[in-house]
């Protein structure tokens, strides 16, 4: 598979602030890639570099095989972008803006535009000043999804959408993926990321701290295990990788590093297992772990 986006060792400073501090990012063609990180960790700066709006101080970035700064126009021909905070012109209608953005990308698919407006329940005749945040967001989403492009860059695109529209958004992303398009999705809505993304990258303080498929990442974290045993559990506390052990009579609750799960199960079965629930870590837990490290590092 070819790469849609490759970024390595990206640095960008604003005065004394190091917004990007050696960031790496690889997005395969045809995948939906989640781009996560706490506020101010450098997600939007990275996206702006990928769009050629900012010039990186050092490091290499390639988007669709080209340099996003030098070949900005050529790259943009094949990209659609949706920012998290869409600002519209007060006296222009949503439809006018959709068509403007479409023309700036080399044309819209009219049938798809109509279909999307319908599905997002957007009134394109209203003036920009009358739209709520969610509706402004829809204007940018319709313009992006109706464009014939290879790569969609979405920067917190659903902030402000209601749950029904969130659902429509997720269907649209799946359709785009089925057509073979690549999507970079920056989001704080973890259920959305979990639902849609093939792989994710987590960044912190301008650096990539984790990158891989959700299964890979889960492997790096802990699984929670709750078991009801026939006998009294013993020896669990000495097993490597066991945390937060809580034994009450025959009931056991514990957290275990996922790659050490095997040993724990063997130990449990020695005492006779009556019931067992094991929950893989949610993305939320994964994420919180990194966020808390961020807080601790401060």
């Amino acid at each position: 598979m070819t790469k849609a986006i490759t970024v390595s060792g990206l640095h960008k400073s604003f005065g004394k602030t190091h917004a990007l501090d050696g960031l790496d990012l690889t997005v395969e063609t045809g995948e939906v890639h989640g781009f996560l990180g706490p506020n101010g960790s450098g997600k939007s700066t990275t996206i702006r570099v990928l769009l050629g709006l900012l010039r990186a101080d050092s490091g290499a970035a390639q988007v669709l095989g080209r340099d996003p700064w030098a070949d900005a126009v050529e790259v943009h021909r094949r990209i659609a972008y949706v920012p998290g905070d869409v600002t519209l012109w007060r006296n222009l209608s949503g439809g006018e803006v959709i068509d403007l953005y479409g023309r700036l990308r080399g044309g819209l698919d009219a049938a798809r535009r109509a279909d999307l407006i319908d599905r997002f329940e957007l009134d394109p005749a209203k003036k920009g000043r009358t739209y709520s945040k969610g509706n402004r967001q829809k204007v940018a989403l319709v313009a992006a999804f109706a464009s014939d492009v290879d790569l969609l860059i979405l920067d917190e695109p659903t902030s402000g959408l209601d749950p029904l529209m969130e659902e429509v958004f997720q269907r649209c992303v799946e359709e785009e993926r089925d057509r073979g398009r690549t999507i970079l999705l920056s989001s704080h809505i973890l259920s959305e990321v979990e639902e849609l993304c093939d792989r994710v990258s987590i960044i912190r303080r301008g650096r990539t701290v984790e990158s891989g498929s959700l299964a890979d990442l889960r492997h790096l974290t802990r699984t929670s295990v709750t078991a009801e045993l026939a006998g009294t559990p013993n020896g669990l506390a000495h097993l490597p990788g066991v945390h937060d052990l809580d034994v009450q009579g025959h009931r056991v609750k514990l957290q275990v590093d996922t790659d050490k799960l095997d040993a724990v199960l063997r130990q449990l079965s020695e005492s006779g297992v009556r019931s067992l629930t094991s929950t893989p870590p949610t993305l939320e837990e994964l994420f919180l772990r990194h966020y808390q490290e961020e807080a601790a590092a401060r």
Binding site: S13, G52, L53, L54, R55, D85, V86, L100, Y101
Partner: protein, 548 residues
């Protein structure tokens, strides 16, 4: 590095059409007002100075008076065309420059600051396309203006009309490209506009200083002897007068405009290609207030504690600006008073106009009264702008969270209205003080004349409050009312408008001070009317829905 390769300009056509579509009304208004000012001038000059002798007399007087040369520039010939070019040339250039800088900043820095540029730039849009489209939009506007002036003044001589039209448009383009540079330097559109306007102001002052220092040879043989001072040549507005429309045009001066425009455009292009979108070369605030990485910083702990304090915080910059401007204008016009009395004293018709504006008294008092009255008219613009801050706060959604706290609508509005109405009293007082400083006599009567304008100013402000409270969607119409009042007060007397028209403006009912009789009747009546309008507006505001 500044290669203007095609990809840099991709999308320019679409953006240009889009800019013209967005600004069609604004550009049409700027062009219309400017052209109207220029094209109406031959007729009004003809009615004032019908014969060549009268005009020669006028020219002799204005050329020997340094203040007049400073304010309007030198005259180069006795024809109506030359007089028109003299009377309005610099001001038409100023208007074209302001129009151009507004257009350019609006489509460059404004778009970046608002964040809209980010989405636009993510399309197939070259790095220099927005700047090019903005400059082309300014180019289209200035070309139309040049055409209107050329065609409209052709009756006075087509060659001179072409020179004036081109000169005015060329000043516009010099400041369009100047604004293009400044827009690369600052992070805020407001600052970009302010800095470019400051350069324009400096250009005006340079020309004024140059023209007052030398008579440009005008008092001798027209259009031949002497030359402008170096200072005048440093100012694009000075180039305009040195183009000498209607007085043996010096076409080569156009080359100066062309060179300045091209050089500035090249600098702007170079800068535009070198920077990040949304970033700037200059920090937004002075170094001491600058935070990490040039981010503008404010106090960490806020002290604003009430809706009134917030209103003052939001409007104080504007109040300071108006105060300084009003004082300075007062000083300038106060200083001109004696010169004008000498000048106008001989011309029957001109004296009549001043007396219609300023009252039946000595020409000095009539001039003072008409100038103070003019300041009153302009103060009406201040009060409308200040009152409509309420509307701006409301429609932008910023009022909503304030009003969601334990702040009543009346208290919220009251803060802004105190700034609006109190501020207008302050600036008129300062204008009066300026006149006193400039003129040096009659302190009491002049201050009285300045303050007596307030009831009329307040009626206009009251009207704005009433519109805002009762018909919020129509609130911007208050600008129209202020504009109409300004027009009636400004050109009504010169155009021999009937009294019934002059009476439409609240300013028409004020006693003509200094010099005239003080009459309390209309003053109290207008004050009462203003109070009633404010009360009606506030009552409406309490009852209606907030617009969001």
């Amino acid at each position: 590095m500044s290669t203007l390769a095609a990809p840099q300009l991709t999308g320019t056509g679409i953006l240009l059409r889009f800019a013209l579509r967005r600004d069609r009304l604004m550009i049409a208004l700027w062009i219309g007002v400017n052209a109207l000012m220029v094209l109406s001038m031959p007729n009004s000059l003809k009615s004032l100075y019908g014969t060549p002798e009268e005009r020669a007399d006028l020219i002799h007087q204005v050329s020997t008076n340094a203040s007049f040369r400073a304010l309007i520039g030198p005259v180069f010939d006795t024809s109506l065309g030359a007089l028109t070019a003299w009377r309005v040339g610099v001001y038409a250039g100023l208007l074209a420059a302001v129009m151009s800088l507004l257009i350019v900043v609006r489509h460059t820095r404004d778009e970046e600051e608002s964040g809209r540029q980010e989405l636009v730039a993510s399309g197939m849009v070259g790095r220099r396309a927005s700047l090019t489209a903005a400059l082309l939009a300014a180019g289209v506007a200035n070309t139309v203006l040049a055409l209107l002036v050329t065609v409209g003044l052709a009756g006075q001589g087509a060659v001179g009309a072409l020179a004036l039209g081109l000169g005015v448009a060329a000043v516009g383009m010099v400041f369009a490209t100047m604004a293009a540079i400044v827009a690369q330097l600052t992070e805020s559109a407001r600052l970009a506009r302010g800095l470019t306007a400051a350069v324009l102001g400096a250009a005006f002052v340079l020309r004024a200083a140059g023209d007052s220092a030398t008579d440009g040879g005008t008092s001798q043989a027209f259009g031949t002897g002497g030359g402008s001072s170096v200072l005048t040549w440093l100012s694009p507005l000075g180039w305009l007068e040195n183009l000498r429309p209607y007085a043996a045009e010096r076409w080569w001066v156009l080359l100066l405009f062309a060179a300045a425009t091209l050089v500035q455009a090249a600098v702007a292009y170079e800068l535009a290609g070198r920077r990040d979108v949304g970033m700037s070369f200059l920090p937004t605030l002075p170094h001491c207030l600058k935070g990490v990485g040039g981010t503008p910083m404010g106090p960490t702990i806020g002290r604003l504690g009430s809706a009134g304090a917030l209103a003052w915080r939001l409007q104080r910059g504007s109040v300071y600006g108006w105060s300084v401007a009003f004082f300075l204008v007062g000083v300038v016009y106060g200083g001109l008073t004696d010169g004008v009395a000498d000048l106008v004293g001989d011309n029957e018709k001109a004296r009549e106009v001043f007396q219609r504006m300023g009252g039946q008294s000595g020409i000095t008092d009539a001039f003072l009264a008409s100038m103070v009255g003019m300041m009153g008219l302009i103060a009406a613009l201040y009060v409308v702008g200040s009152v409509l801050r309420l509307n701006g706060e409301e429609t932008s959604g910023r009022a909503e969270p304030v009003l969601a706290h334990a702040v009543g609508r009346l208290r919220w509005a009251g803060g802004h209205l105190a700034v609006a109405f109190g501020g207008s009293a302050l600036i008129m007082l300062l204008a009066g003080l300026g006149f006193v400083v400039g003129y040096g006599e009659e302190a009491g009567p002049i201050l009285g004349a300045a303050l007596v304008q307030l009831p009329a100013v307040w009626v206009i402000g009251g009207l704005a409050v009433a519109l805002y409270g009762l018909l919020p969607r129509a609130a911007p119409a208050a600008w129209g009312v202020a504009g109409a009042v300004l027009l009636i007060g400004w050109v009504g007397p010169a155009l021999d408008a009937p009294q019934s028209v002059l009476d439409l403006s609240p300013f028409g009912h004020l006693p003509k001070l200094p010099g005239g009789e003080m009459s309390w009747g209309p003053v109290l009546l207008l004050t009462g009317l203003a109070v009633a309008l404010v009360a009606a507006g506030l009552a409406g505001l309490r009852r209606r829905d907030l617009t969001t």
